[in-house]
Amino acid sequence: MTDQALGKPEADRPAKGPLIYRQAVLTRITHWVWAIALFFMLLSGLQIWNAHPALYVGQQSGFEFDNAILRIGAENTPEGPRGFTTVFGQKFDTTGVLGMSELRGTTNFVGFPGWATIPSFRDLATGRVVHFFFAWILVGALGIWAISSLLNGHLWRDVILKPRDFRELPRDIWDHARLKFHHGRSYSPLQKFAYFGVFFVLFPLIILTGLAMSPTMDAGWPWLIDLFGGRQTARTIHFLVMVLLVLFFVIHIAMVLLAGPINELRSMITGYYRTSPGTDASLPLEGRERGRGRSGGRREIPTPDSSPQGGGEQAGANRQEKSK
């Protein structure tokens, strides 16, 4: 009622749930730091990979025997040079993208094309400078995120998988398949699986396989070589995890677009997220247990003083939902 009187744009829209404070400031900052770091690590990583565009299994690279599972290169054919990609012995013509591509009007015989590498020309030294700088940024942000998420309850509430997430997973997959999204207080089970996978599987794997490629780290931590079954296997896993992270990125962006890009982006910039009607704006029980502390209690339910968008509306809407 208040909002009608104020003539707010929200008033004439269909039913909305409460606006909640969903993402803590460190969650938002580390999110964007990763977005930038992973962008540079991917493109500099492909630059590094182009220096030897093949993947092997085992301790070493077979030059006089064959333990390669992926190889990109160019060959002369009766129709002229062509780019080829060989995966598990299956050879594909990938001219134009892999093995042979155009860059500013010149043909280059490189693994990944110039538009996918930093720098766009062959420069392993620079690729390494960029890659290792952002590797430190990525790991530093992961450390900050892990500590802050442990303290503010985000880790336990939103990322750690619980029996309930497994129980509700089939239903959530069905909902996602119908593009029916529930904008709740916390993430949906499928989201939690995705983020859990990134933080507890992909990030640790890509960091450890990166370290396993270091001859110094292999001397200090010999278990790294044994864990992955050899330096070249570690390099192959590093590459495969990169592919999975790219896949995660594609799905992540698709879901943001499908679930409402303005709301999703707002939550990752300002922290505030518009939930579906009927959402209880208070913290779920497990979150409340963990997410104690001054700021947690004060900020989770917007009040007229704390919400920059007019908490009166939220609180009122919430009360209405409950009274139904």
Partner: protein, 265 residues
Amino acid sequence: MSGLILNRRRLIGLGAASAGSLVLAGCDQFDFLGQRNDPVRDFLERANSLTYAAQRALVGQQALAREFSESEIRQGQRPNGSTDPRQNVAEYRTLEANGFAGYKLRITGLVETPKEYSLAELQNMPSRTQITRHDCVEGWSCIAKWTGVPLGRLLDEAKVKPGAKFIVYHCYDVMGGGLSKPEPYYESSDLIDAYHPQTIAAYGLNGGALPVENGAPIRIRIERALGYKQPKYVHTIEVADGFSQYGLGQGGYWEDHGYDWYGGI
């Protein structure tokens, strides 16, 4: 109230637009990072010092590189980089033609007694043999058996003076040429790597004499670093308190061309 909303919307839109343009612009945008001495690149390069410090802190000075069994030598040591200084270095050509009979390995610089060793003298000293994995900066690895004199022993015989910080390895092979200035290959390491038990002046490979393509007559093995830190065709080992006076001042031929000095990852 509505001003605030607009501001937020505008902010979000701005963020999305700039992120989009970053991707759409393509990666030529970052080609400037390839220019040596670009200030942004210089800043990013500082991470290399952090990496060096972190690896020195995490890995014990004596920690050994993995040694493999004979059965894991499955191929010859892959030659890479400069593989035949006979092509452009007359002095090396003559030495090689005489089976390196006239070769001398010199230990010079900040030492009390500069030394010279013939190949035969080196071969008659106590040796170390190790089957290790050679990791090229390009990404490939190759396992081979290396035999040589522990470098620490040679340094001890020459008696390193206080104040020494680095060892500079001077090589016969000359890189560049043609249009660019010829640059003799050189490398450097700190004293920790020089005195590491697996650091050897190698004259043997896989049970035979070290071939020309792999660095005959002497190649330094620093087993916890990448391939470019394993200088081939070494003629002089110079003990120094810095390396800015050599080459372009970055501590090695590849370092002068933008690669990190430590080469530990």
